[in-house]
């Protein structure tokens, strides 16, 4: 079956099947390997993408559901070779170790900050609770997001 959707701002048409997950469609049919295959059952969060702007687990979504929707993966965030401010903050704060969960955290943070530009630390933690990281202990990830908020509002003042 053919489905049409917007992937990272571009319209795509894919011939896929109903027993294919969005995760498999992205990785195998569209070659987007930044979307990680972790637990495959909606527990680890490594396969996070944004669907219509909201973070979701691509391993729990069957491909046809995406028809007519908008999907964003980490590739969308950097523009003209320059990293997005959240990506920069992750590097500066040392929020990346093995990197397997990093795209998921950054996409989730991107969606959170779009919806709520100045979240509290508690709100950040709540938003991120659906992604596992086995390296960092989460503190530096939360610090990185805090850093984005701080820098933004310092610049503005």
């Amino acid at each position: 079956m053919k489905i049409k959707f917007t992937l990272n701002g571009e319209k795509v048409e894919v011939d896929t099947s109903p027993n294919t997950t969005l995760l498999d469609m992205l990785r195998r049919q569209l070659g987007i390997k930044s979307v990680k295959r972790g637990c495959e059952r909606g527990e680890c969060g490594a396969c996070t993408v944004l669907m219509d702007g909201k973070p979701v687990y691509s391993c729990l979504i069957l491909a046809p559901k995406v028809d007519g929707r908008e999907i964003i993966t980490i590739e969308y965030l950097s523009k003209n070779g320059e990293l997005h401010e959240i990506q920069k903050a992750f590097i500066e704060a040392g929020a990346v170790q093995c990197g397997f969960c990093t795209s998921a955290f950054i996409l989730t943070a991107y969606s959170l900050l779009n919806q709520n530009p100045k979240p509290s630390r508690k709100e950040i933690v709540k938003a991120l609770e659906g992604i596992l990281c086995r390296c960092t202990g989460y503190v530096k990830i939360i610090d990185a997001i805090d850093r984005v908020i701080e820098q933004k509002y310092k610049v503005k003042q």
Binding site: M1, N19, E40, K65
Partner: protein, 298 residues
């Protein structure tokens, strides 16, 4: 890297209207309706559920709404959990439902999972059930033959078994507005914060007149084959003085009404103990919502 799970071949249907969906389920055999799919897709992967066809009702706008009038609140069955969570009027009117949903899954799951899906999946640990039970919610079930309204108490028949006939769809949850000056709350004990399945979940609703319980409603999940109302405990508390000692004494009755099992998350004995503690705590929280603060004396 290969997938660990392979979903067997499926026929996929995406009806454009509810009417189309109802006609489809009337004629098809061996199908499952899919809304959010956060439970079903895992079940398809593990083989716990095997079907020939799935019918995607997640984009039926007719089933996605929150309507509030003077008497009742109506929620379309395919309404996404996160939308219910973020609805300020619902948090104001029926905070126990908001609290229950906040405790479910993670933001990622709540962004696609639906309230109707949680009910129809009929897990004994369904977290939307206790708040809807204390609110005396009614469920609208539709088929090509027509509609019927079922009180939520009659909806759950057992683990994963519901009142729904093969050709029916749960279309709406109707919640009568609780009277003014009622306090309600939902508490859940899990093994961790995010994604946790309830070890015990409790919703309570109270109203008080002259420091005496006028109404008490208690519902629990994960402690019986289905989510339940604890009527005995409720009547034991009604007409009693609002007093911590009395509450602590009466909530013990809850163990007579529940039939917990031992599983990977907790033993039956632990669930019984915790059902008492959580019922007490939830009542205290509900009382707090109507301005009654009980001092705990150590």
């Amino acid at each position: 890297m290969a997938s660990f799970y392979i979903i067997p071949k499926l026929n996929y249907y995406k009806p454009r209207t509810l009417k189309e969906a109802l006609a489809l389920i009337n004629s098809l055999q061996n199908f499952k309706l899919i809304a959010g799919g956060t439970d079903l897709v895992v079940d398809l992967k593990t083989g716990r559920i095997k079907v020939e066809s799935i019918i995607d009702i997640s984009s039926l706008n007719e089933l996605q709404y929150i309507k509030i009038n003077e008497k009742e609140i109506k929620i379309g069955a395919a309404t996404i959990l996160q939308e219910i969570c973020e609805n300020k009027a619902l948090r104001e009117e029926i905070p126990a439902l908001t609290e229950a949903i906040e405790s479910m899954g993670s933001w990622h799951v709540r962004n696609i999972a639906t309230i109707g899906g949680n009910l129809c999946n009929a897990s004994p640990a369904a977290d939307t059930a206790p708040p809807l039970l204390i609110l005396n919610a009614k469920l609208k079930l539709e088929s090509i033959q027509g509609k019927r309204i079922v009180p939520i108490e009659k909806f759950f028949h057992g683990p994963r078994q519901t009142e729904l006939k093969k050709n029916e769809i749960l279309t709406e949850i109707v919640i009568p507005k609780p009277p003014k000056n009622t306090g309600m709350n939902f508490l859940k004990l899990g093994r961790r914060n995010a994604f946790t399945l309830s070890v015990v979940g409790v919703a309570t609703l109270v109203s008080v007149k002259n420091r005496v319980f006028k109404d008490v409603r208690i519902a629990l999940n994960a402690i019986a084959p289905t989510p339940i109302r604890a009527y005995k405990t409720e009547s034991a508390l009604k007409k009693q003085k609002v007093d911590l000692k009395i509450i602590e004494e009466k909530v013990k009755i809850v163990t007579e009404e529940i039939k917990p099992i031992s599983d990977v998350r907790a033993s039956a004995k632990y669930r019984k103990e915790m059902a008492i503690v959580l019922t007490r705590d939830s009542i205290i929280q509900s009382l707090r919502r109507i301005g009654l603060i009980l001092e705990e004396k150590a």
